[in-house]
Symmetry: C2
Subunit: 406 residues, 2 copies
């Protein structure tokens, strides 16, 4: 069977959006004209433009796009049109992707105004933030892939709530130039997809080398994290039952003693998030402070509560935990943990990042697999975590796990 | 005496540039019309706009400016006009500054094409790169202050070569949003100035808290660094003689045993610089590769030579050295080191960053003082270094040192 043309892919996406987006509200802007023109140009090419030829992709509205507004879901940026594409948008386009539009987000991927997007599994519930629209658009079948970001839990948590794949690469592996800045040592470009193959394809487009796993039973390490008590009963059950299924399918799963420094990681994340947020939002506070949401003024003023000494200690806690974590993780194919405390909550608030912050802070790659369900039948994701730069090996492990659970 | 009006400041700067810039070539763009309009508006205000009211400032041409071209000294960005100001440009403008124009830079503040700017002390010599034009414009009296960046030694080294003050803040203290990205964990916004007061004023505008020093003789730590043999004879003499003058003036100077990890810092810097550079330039290689200088293609391909394992070790070397350095530095008012191997070399190549990379990598603030001269009477700078977030305390130490050497 011939692959679909780029034009048929775009038309199919636009039809689905027309049918569904009044309810799901994943999109802040859909560039139907631009996408159709781009698809026609791709279909006219004698050979594929690249590995993403003709694939329609959504982008969270914190990625600069030269041909569409980039609003950060902020009244301060209504109709704002950047002069250039974000580096990763340009890279995806060069690989043949069609950027179909911009998806809703928690304001500045940070705080302030929530996204209005709904969870396709239950419209009363959040898809999770801050990459709410990207997760909803993928989960509801509008697009196969959508770009997200993660500073706390903004890629992995909505993937969990929406029953899709979420991938947060190693910090620094993908350029964050042209993506709204919140916390420079945490902000990470990530993505949502319907398959591990699509997750890994983006890793390849961004230049990450293939990884491999040993030809023996999987060795996994279970990590409840020091925040286990913050998980819902069905969240806890989802992780433990998934682990039990994997053992039954032949995996070896240990629960090693994790570094004591883990207990301080979410506090360290908080200090860094707020103090780096002060640097990030200082300009808006100075230039248009009267329009800026109080959440961002609070970050700009955060040195009043979070001292330089605390901040320095937070960076060093993260660095030492990173080293200690990998000394353990290097002995396993992957670490298994929760992607969220449980199923998506009711409302539009983004949900808790308590099971994501520590990994974001440690800069390690996380792949969330949609392999579990909670009490109400709602999706719960399981995170696979590996050492820094094991991104594509992690995809290989994820593929093996999906086969074992199938 | 009344302070000069903003308009007279701008006219004076424009006259100096008209007289001198045919020789010095500090500027890629001077916005005379915009600066005059802005000065008139500032002069018409009933009260100062902020602490930088009416001060004309140059900006290295890697800072996005909505009202001027931003070329990165690259043929790929000829005439490029961003839609928004870089965050730090917006913050300076909100404080009353006039952005007079854009200064020449090594291409993308990285490699490729050298700046054409000349060193005002000897036009045959480089002002130092990559912030060549900013240093030259300040040294030649065009402007009091100019924005620079530092990823290796791009702020401190040109300050040294040009006999002016250079300040590289703690990494992360100033937003780098809207500044061309090279290496995300190294890139730092910095500045050149004619006085420590101006250096510190920018720290204050960027929200850094005042620092203080103890009311007792200064305690300083001399650091030759593991790269001492790379210094010229007059560079070595400049540091040791400055230290001797300070001892004669009452300072206590030790030469502590520095961490052994210091020897690996410049190699770690190299690995991080090139691999983060791969992420930074991937989009340009993919979209306009045929126009992109070979230096940047080499960075995009750097994973062929610098493995993920090497990169991970580089990050961890930096993190552990940072902790070990501060355990020593916390016992002193500042660390004293070279800002460059010696005086400015002949030509337009940027010079060696060997005495800057380690501090950039450790994220610590550096203040370069123009207090020494080499054999030919050319300037040689001395670096003061402190723990992260001691930026304004470092300014206070620098002021005391200048008094002691006066």
């Amino acid at each position: 069977m011939a692959p679909p043309t780029a034009s048929s892919t775009v038309e199919s996406a636009l039809r689905r959006i027309a049918e569904r987006d009044k309810l799901v509200r994943a999109w802040l802007h859909v560039d139907d004209t631009g996408a159709r023109a781009r698809a026609a140009a791709l279909d006219a090419m004698p050979a594929p433009a690249g590995p993403l030829h003709g694939i329609a992709i959504g982008a969270k509205d914190v990625f600069d796009t030269a041909d569409m507004p980039t609003t950060h879901n902020s009244t301060l940026f209504g109709g704002h049109r950047p002069a250039s594409d974000a580096a990763c948008i340009a890279t995806l386009r060069a690989a043949g992707a069609i950027i179909l539009g911009k998806t809703d987000t928690t304001e500045f991927a940070a705080a302030g105004r929530d996204a209005v997007s709904a969870n396709p599994h239950d419209l009363a519930r959040t898809p999770g933030g801050s990459s709410a629209g990207s997760a909803a658009a993928v989960a509801d079948g509008h697009v196969r892939i959508a770009l997200a970001t993660q500073t706390g839990g903004s890629t992995i948590r909505p993937a969990s709530f929406c029953g899709i794949h979420g991938f947060k690469p190693t910090w620094g592996a993908v350029s964050r130039e042209g993506v709204k800045m919140y916390a420079n040592s945490l902000d990470t470009v990530g993505w949502h997809a319907r398959s591990i193959d699509d997750c890994e394809q983006l890793c390849a487009v961004f230049g990450m080398a293939p990884g491999k796993i040993a030809a023996r039973p999987l060795r996994l390490a279970l990590c409840r994290t020091p925040f286990w008590d913050a998980a819902d009963a069905d969240g806890q059950a989802a992780l433990l039952e998934t682990a039990a299924h994997l053992v039954a399918a032949g995996a070896v799963i240990d629960e090693p003693a994790w570094p004591e420094a883990f207990a301080g990681l979410n506090d360290a994340h908080h200090a860094i998030l707020w103090r780096e947020g002060a640097a990030a939002f200082r300009d808006l506070a100075a230039t248009r402070g009267e329009l800026l949401h109080a959440d961002f003024h609070a970050r700009v003023a955060s040195a009043d509560n979070i001292s330089d000494t605390t901040l320095r200690a937070a960076y060093d806690t993260a660095a030492t935990a990173r080293i200690a974590f990998e000394q353990i993780a290097d002995g396993y194919d992957a670490v298994l943990a929760l992607s969220a405390p449980g199923a998506a909550p009711i409302g539009r608030a983004p949900g808790s990042p308590v099971f994501n912050q520590l990994w974001t802070l440690m800069h390690v790659p996380v792949l969330s697999l949609p392999v579990a369900r909670g009490e109400l039948g709602l999706p719960i994701g399981i995170s696979l975590i590996g050492p820094r730069f094991s991104d594509r090996a992690l995809c290989a492990v994820g593929r093996r796990i999906e086969e074992m659970l199938a």
